[in-house]
């Protein structure tokens, strides 16, 4: 998708670079780190954990939309399946949280492998519609499959003991785990984007036929990126399931797919920090409007329309344009 390119992403001479971060990005990262460390002392930790899970989900989505130009409109499938599998294995088999989350991620990745292989047969709008339709098929599957508990969901999921040792019952202990999971995968995505593999992805985004003529098997690259993205979406879903002790149909519903698109659109597609900011704002709005019925939906719709019409770079994209540095 022709994401509005904020700035040329490659500058010939890079005076400053740590772990692929430019100076502005390094400052932003330190701010983010400080926020993650300090926030739980002032803000309700369960809410913060929710934000971090959705931020990770949004970053996984951004890997596709921002760096490959693929609009997947069905990412709830991988997020939700990750959440179900983590919940189920943690509850039924009594697996420790780190293994349960990992299994959730693998499920997301596996599903992404199948759905991705099908969807990349078409491009553009069709790709979006096919991913949406496949996710809806997955939704109906979850509705009927016995292991998901249908409308009841999987309830009473224990948070368990990390590595079988550290109890995560307290919100603070759980928060530390969620924060670490978030940071690990956030940095992983950043690393991938700045690897040679990431450069090929960007080449595909800018001009797929050109990348093909240069000898790259673009479909393979797209599929690998898709699987990586869905794996991380599964991790995010699994972590969320443990935080709340529940996995339900909400996580596989198309509305969830729309929400992750919105987080990216609002935060800034193709920026590194945009999805995090987008997730934070959207979750905050949802929280503030929680008692107000469908006004949440209306607000999300208004943000969608406003972003598309006059704000296509998103919050972080606009800031980046203002300070003339990529973020």
């Amino acid at each position: 998708m022709g994401v509005t390119t904020v700035l040329p992403r490659t500058t010939a001479a890079r005076p400053f670079s740590v772990f692929g971060f430019s100076s502005a990005q390094a400052v932003a990262f330190l701010l983010l780190l400080a926020a993650i460390v300090l926030a739980p002392f002032g803000i309700y930790p369960v809410f913060l954990m929710k934000v971090l899970c959705f931020a990770l989900f949004a970053c996984a989505f951004n890997l596709l939309i921002g760096f490959v130009g693929l609009l997947s409109f069905g990412h709830a499938a991988y997020f939700g399946m990750g959440s179900y599998v983590t919940a189920w294995t943690a509850k039924t088999w009594g697996l420790t949280p780190e293994i349960a989350i990992l299994l959730g991620g693998l499920t997301g990745g596996l599903l992404g492998c199948v759905f991705g292989a099908l969807a990349i047969r078409r491009q553009g709008l069709y790709f979006a519609m096919i991913t949406l339709a496949l996710a809806q098929m997955n939704y109906f599957f979850c509705l009927q499959a016995p292991f998901t508990g249908g409308e009841d969901g999987i309830q009473q999921v224990p948070r368990g003991n990390l590595f079988g040792l550290i109890s995560l019952r307290s919100d603070m202990a759980m928060y530390v785990v969620v924060a670490v999971v978030f940071l690990v995968f956030f940095l992983l995505i950043h690393r991938v984007v700045h690897s040679p593999f990431g450069q090929v992805l960007k080449a595909i985004r800018e001009n797929e036929p050109r990348a093909t003529s240069l000898g790259y098997r673009t479909d393979d690259y797209k599929l690998i990126a898709f699987v990586l993205s869905t794996f991380i979406a599964g991790i995010a879903g699994g972590t969320k399931a443990l935080v709340f002790g529940i996995a339900t149909l909400t996580d596989v519903n198309y509305a969830m797919s729309g929400e992750v698109v919105l987080m990216n659109l609002l935060g800034g597609m193709g920026t590194i920090f945009g999805p995090v900011i987008g997730a934070g704002i959207i979750q905050w709005t949802e929280n503030a409007l929680a008692g107000a019925g469908a006004w949440v939906t209306v607000t999300q719709g208004v943000i969608f329309v406003a972003c598309v019409l006059m704000f296509r770079r998103g919050v972080v994209g606009e800031i980046a344009a203002l300070i003339k540095r990529p973020l």
Partner: protein, 404 residues
Amino acid sequence: MTQISRRTLLAATAAAPLIRPARAQGKPIRIGVMNDQSGPYRDIAGMASVSGVRLAVQEMAGSVGAEVLFADHQNKPDVGAGIARQWFDRDGVDLIMDVNTSSVALAVNQVCKEKDRAYINVGAATTDLTGPQCTPVTVHWSYDTWMLARSTGGAVAQAGGDSWYFLTADYVFGQQLQRDTTGFVTRSGGKVLGASAYPFPGTTDFSSFLISAQASGAKVLGLANAGTDTVNSIKQAVEFGLTRQMKIAALLMYISDVHGLGLETAQGLYMTESFYWDLNDRTRAFSERFKALYPGARPNMDNAGCYAGALHYLKAAKDMGVAAAQASGAAAVARMKAMPTMDDAFGAARIREDGLTLFPTYLFQVKTPAESRGPWDYLKVVVTTPAEQAWKPLAESGCPLVRL
């Protein structure tokens, strides 16, 4: 208490995160009413049940101060559990009430147990609340699937309905209602020929299930659903001519549903409630007081249960001291179980150790338009089941709190 407008309350809830709940002496009790305010069950619970709780608070205002919050759980377990957590952690709620929709009820049940806050469930039907998942903080009021199956299912089966087809809302409530009814049908020599489970919420067209039901050749169509689902499935059954061959047994129906269907369509149906506004002088007096807070409808057993449950909790809190009731949900519920209940809606009753409240239940038949003397005069009592026989025996409860 005057009617607090919805907007004011919403504003209050939104501002709540800024205020740390201060548990000072003399702080009023906060009751959170959580139910379906927008979906298929909003007409049976919704603001009518909130009004029931408000009436109880009003009547106890002289001795115990309490305020009422309410929220819409949208029939989603994750939404319900989230609201419960925020109510306890941020808004200082002491008691959660109603929570219709069994899947949500069970999710909230866990949060209440974890946080040691009292929980009076009225609107949900699952027997798990007083069975395998019973907790020291949980009380269940008004009805459950076992009691419905025994009353309606048993009566229809004995009246010659010996082959059944179920139309079931596919979640814990519908499944249990189908299971319990199947038990009573087979015990009286009947057979179940088939069932269609449909996704809840969101199904409005039941036609293809109705055609399967018709093709099964069963004599009775058992509706294991509630609210507008029940209303829609009955209407469509009439539309498809099903009623020419089959009898409909609406296993959970409220007087509000009869009102929605109209007597022309609903006449002759059997249904079970544990409360009816026109039973005796006390129920009529209660309904008049209810009407002052919620004009436009007569209370059903859910609304009445919200009134009676809140009233009993407030009496217990007065008895043990408000601060003590606020300190521990388990202690408050233990006191409630120790005291006999007494109110205008259900009369004298008691709460069993597994949390189930025991009073008589009534099998009603919907009147014909000719029999009805006016709006809301809809039901006539066919059978009254005494409290000792109406409910699942304690021996079968499966509740870990029960020591036999």
